[in-house]
Symmetry: C2
Subunit: 231 residues, 2 copies
């Protein structure tokens, strides 16, 4: 998942530092400074910086140094940037943005899925809905989370749109972050679970309209819950 090797370690340190605002926009780093700080060679520093540059977190200019860019320039769709921000100080802003994105995308994906999911995918959704019901009842948050992620990812994949499909990981990160940071009730709300079942049934039955509506209720609910729970 992550970049490996020494550049990976640099990234894992610098990325979150920038994403969390610990290194604010305008901060200038010099590559030599990074070399000594991390005890690595130029090669390694340059590769790490290049990657940060491709995410638009920094720019590197001769005679100036490595400058942290303002948040508005960041490539906010980059999976790594999303993870870093979710882990850091503006988790709340990030969750809200992602929440709105989910409200826009997931109902559309559910409707598409109802039309063109494969039989296997429909079966899998049914099975996942069952799992969700069981683990919710047992208050097994770990398993619930895992199946919830799979549920949403399957629908996004079944939509047949590659861009929607790729949001599966992102949504997974959101759900994980929400659970890890205790923005979830200790036991999933029965109402929410019922809605998941409803989405699965609608998709199995090919009822795009109902799938879309039920999914919209889920993600709108999640977004509203965020406004109640988060700081």
């Amino acid at each position: 998942m992550d970049i490996q090797g020494l550049p990976g370690r640099l990234l894992a340190d610098l990325g979150p530092a920038i994403a969390s605002g610990e290194l604010p926009a305008g901060t200038v780093l010099r590559s030599e400074e990074l070399e000594v700080r991390y005890g690595v060679s130029r090669t390694v520093v340059r590769e790490a910086v290049r990657i940060l540059e491709s995410m638009r977190l920094v720019t590197s200019k001769r005679r100036v140094g490595i400058t942290v860019q303002p948040k508005s320039d960041w490539d906010v769709f980059d999976p790594m940037v999303i993870r870093w921000r979710l882990a850091g100080a503006d988790r709340s802003a990030q969750l809200r943005s992602l929440g709105s994105l989910r409200v826009a995308v997931e109902p559309a994906a559910a409707a598409l899925a109802a039309r063109q999911a494969t039989d296997d995918q429909r079966r899998e959704l049914g099975a996942l809905a069952v799992e969700l019901t069981v683990t919710a009842r047992a208050a097994d948050l770990t398993s619930f989370l895992q199946h919830d992620i799979a549920f949403h990812a399957t629908i996004l994949r079944a939509s047949g749109n590659e861009m929607f499909a790729h949001l599966g990981d992102t949504v997974g990160a959101v759900l994980t972050g929400r659970t890890e940071h205790h923005l979830m009730p200790h036991q999933p709300r029965p109402y929410a679970v019922r809605l998941h079942r409803e989405v699965a049934d609608a998709i199995c039955a090919g009822d795009a309209e109902q799938a879309e509506q039920a999914m919209r209720t889920i993600v709108v609910g999640a977004l509203e819950e965020l406004n109640v729970t988060v700081d």
Copy 2:
């Protein structure tokens, strides 16, 4: 906009080659081969490869080489990947995916914009709608495109959601690609222009419902037009 320097040139060559399918998944490159092919040093090759790796277009493993990854692994939201694909062979698939994304996102953004756009933004939208009307009438496709891009970008920005805002460039790329590849009528349809005016008016008036509806009509229309026009 682009990565500069020698690694940039490597990227500008390899990226499109991979994105267009010219180098299919499974193709293995060796870094020494790239060094001689492009007449650059290891440093340069490694940095370029690292960036491709961070976009998940390739993986680099010891004793194996640099392997092109299947399309399903690519980071399809990366702006550079989007541009490369729009320029290449699967432009049509890319346009379709982006079209669905627009259908999901832009109506939501319009609704949000109607609620929380600044006065300046509302004014700008009004002005842009006028420009669209005028340039459409004059069949000045270049100016029309420019204002159309600004129109959609402004709404996405006015939504107050940073992730929506970042899709401005992407939508711009879609509109540009559509015009450049003659997937547009020679004169913008009066109906479409009227809808833009309607969106602008609704946002100015703070009517979220109408802004959303009109915008949906626009993007659904664009998507359908794609299905008619494209191969």
